[in-house]
Symmetry: C2
Subunit: 106 residues, 2 copies
């Protein structure tokens, strides 16, 4: 810190086919995520705000029971405690920004 | 909101050759930035934490008088109130995450 290279960060498999490299700051956790084509993640929720910045690929994201299709340039704001799940239509690269810090991922 | 398409957001020229599309959430401002090759931005500072996620290009970033070269995969955490400036070695795409919200950019 404060200059981090993602290649130097351990990869964490959050769900099968969904791998994250996470940088924690004072106020946020920046989670650089790769999702394999076809991989899914189940409905879950957390007390953190989550901003899904889609960098590459197509992500089907279901938030509070409503399904949205995210493509590069999509930014989705998931408020705290709102259930969400997803499926990578093709291989995805995502930057998820959590606030406050994901202490559970330290 | 909460699904935002960056194409639908007004472009703000923060400094000459540096254009931003900014999404404000409860706790952060996500600033999607394009910087022209060779463009510079002067020394400035703010009370917000800033995380510089380099998506594409090469960015020479000077923070507290020390110069760093950022390439895709670089994540740089600028603490609050720390002076910083920069120069795009070639055209850059950056996601700057500010916390708390940049009320001055609303």
């Amino acid at each position: 810190m404060p200059l981090v290279n993602l290649d130097a960060i351990a990869v964490r498999e959050i769900f099968p086919g969904l791998r994250a490299r996470i940088v924690h700051t004072e106020r946020t956790s920046q989670s650089w995520v790769e999702i394999d084509a076809g991989a899914t993640f189940p409905v879950h929720q957390h007390p953190h705000e989550q901003v899904v910045n889609l960098i590459a690929g197509t992500l089907e994201l279901t938030v509070a029971g409503e399904t949205h299709m995210l493509t590069p340039g999509s930014v989705f704001v998931i408020p705290p405690h709102v259930p969400h799940s997803g499926r990578a239509v093709d291989a995805c690269r995502v930057l998820d920004v959590f606030a406050p810090v994901r202490e559970d991922y330290r």
